[in-house]
Symmetry: C2
Subunit: 311 residues, 2 copies
């Protein structure tokens, strides 16, 4: 495998960031990986598991020599992390780094990156061009928004594994002014993990993911939560079969991450939830009126669609 | 393994009935299996796959020498099948057979069995006792209602396998007047398949299953159906990850079977659907008002509950 970069900095070394590191190491695509993040215990664990070669608790220090900075933190931490990355890169005079992320919703991330990386925050002294980019400073045009469509319900460095991205899709949502070389480099890194890379408009990404990922997660969390307060709940779960376990598997996902995804992709998710409530009302009314034909028709359609798209 | 019975008659030789046959054969628990059912093609397939030793398309003929009749047909076909069983057993003077079923909802089945097996339908000429049971005729007291908490999204004889019931729970819901020997025999047969047998009140069964099985199936069918009409649906499914596939697996289940389950367990299911609609409204309102704390709290509770009961 070709070495693509010398220094990778990964901020957030859990399932997503850790698996990115492990697969790039296995592929020989980068020479050195620095981990950074809020929790030193997590970083120590990542070091111990050979996910990273070194760590810094200070993001500003961690990014200074980075060719690529990979941000895999919950969406709610993104703004603060972006600010520290910017300060770190600018202090080190590293304006050539490429920054990318793995956030599950993209419009807000793209907007944050534009605001933070191109902001005139007082540090910029000269050379600011009309679009707000300062010569010699890290600018949003070198930020490539991305989202790997992969994961498990587990989290933390212990959950990371090198094959997570193999044959999975990664969606990049670059803006019109994103640097073409930066897009190419991020694409090549993802391909080195075994993933298939596609490019999409951020708004379209958010709509598609609201339907296929965010809504299902909310429904699963909601299902477990709505059963929680039933009488005799121990018994109820004792008789739960494989179907229940499958439907609710993703209700074991990280609550903070999913709170952030919901808040970040609020509008598309609310639209999908409304759509689903209408569907549920229709099913309720069909069952209440004993309309077996209607129920059968809905079930048949669903089965046909699912069988078609998953086989 | 001990031989428990000589002749088993299985009506409906698909996933549930076929797997029952295969596991009893493997255990050596019965000597001869006759299959019966509506579709001769299915019966031929079951014969070819060594699920049954022989078949009859006429249920009246199929049951005549049976020690045990196992009914695994969709709930909507139960009444008609029970009537044919009764006629067949009475014509053959086989009042000692035990009849059991595998229906996913139990109150209506128990009621049907009581009505049909103990009915004075004109054939009965004499000996009818106060409770409607005719001496020498098959009576409802030899019917044992049952439900194996096992299955896959696949159906038909090809989907059957001997290990389906291994370490799975089977719930029996006998009535107060069900014959104790009949309960024992059905229990032993299920144990021979590797299942764990428990007894429960039919109404309680229906409530528990509405929560852990029927509601999740309806939610999964509804999820796929509500996405079906989205623009760009091909793309939407292309980006569906493992979570989506898991949540919707059971939407590939048999539509007729699930229509019948819904109609048969209408009231408990409607109650659970109402409960779930309230949950979804709460989640919708929390997200609409940007209440991250509330979302996180619900997700945390759900994760904790699921982790506790599934590990």
């Amino acid at each position: 495998m070709t070495v693509l970069i010398n220094n990778l900095c990964v901020i957030g070394t859990g399932l997503i960031g850790g698996s990115f590191c492990l697969s790039l190491k296995q592929a020989g695509a980068c020479r050195h990986i620095v981990g950074a993040g809020r929790s030193e215990a997590t970083l120590q664990k990542a070091l111990q598991l050979d996910i990273i070669d070194h760590y810094e608790t200070d993001i500003e220090l961690a990014v200074k020599d980075a060719d690529v900075v990979f941000v895999s933190v919950p969406l709610g931490a993104m703004a603060s992390v972006f600010k520290q990355i910017k300060t770190g890169l600018n202090k080190a005079g590293n304006s050539k780094a490429v920054v990318t992320d793995a956030g599950s919703s993209k419009q807000q991330v793209v907007q944050l990156a534009a605001e933070i990386f191109d902001a005139n925050d007082g540090d910029a002294k000269n050379g600011r061009s009309e679009d707000g980019v300062v010569e010699g400073e890290f600018g949003a045009c070198r930020f490539v928004a991305g989202h790997p469509i992969a994961g498990t319900e587990n989290s933390g460095p212990e959950a990371a594994f090198a094959e997570l991205y193999k044959d999975r899709r990664v969606i990049l949502t670059p803006s019109a002014d994103t640097d073409a070389d930066a897009i190419t480099l991020v694409t090549e890194l993802w391909q080195a993990t075994g993933a298939m890379v596609e490019t999409m408009d951020a708004a379209h990404h958010d709509k598609v993911l609201a339907a296929t990922s965010h809504l299902p997660h909310i429904l699963a969390f909601g299902l477990v939560h709505c059963l929680e307060n039933m009488d005799d709940i121990e018994n109820v779960f004792r008789f739960a079969a494989g179907g229940f376990r499958d439907v609710t598997r993703i209700a074991s996902s990280d609550p903070v991450m999913w709170r952030d995804i919901c808040l970040n992709n609020q509008k598309p998710i609310l639209e999908m939830m409304q759509r689903y409530r209408d569907e549920l009302d229709m099913l309720y009314n069909a069952l209440e009126s004993g309309d077996g034909e209607k129920l059968k028709e809905i079930f048949e359609h669903a089965k046909k669609t699912r069988d078609k798209f998953t086989h």
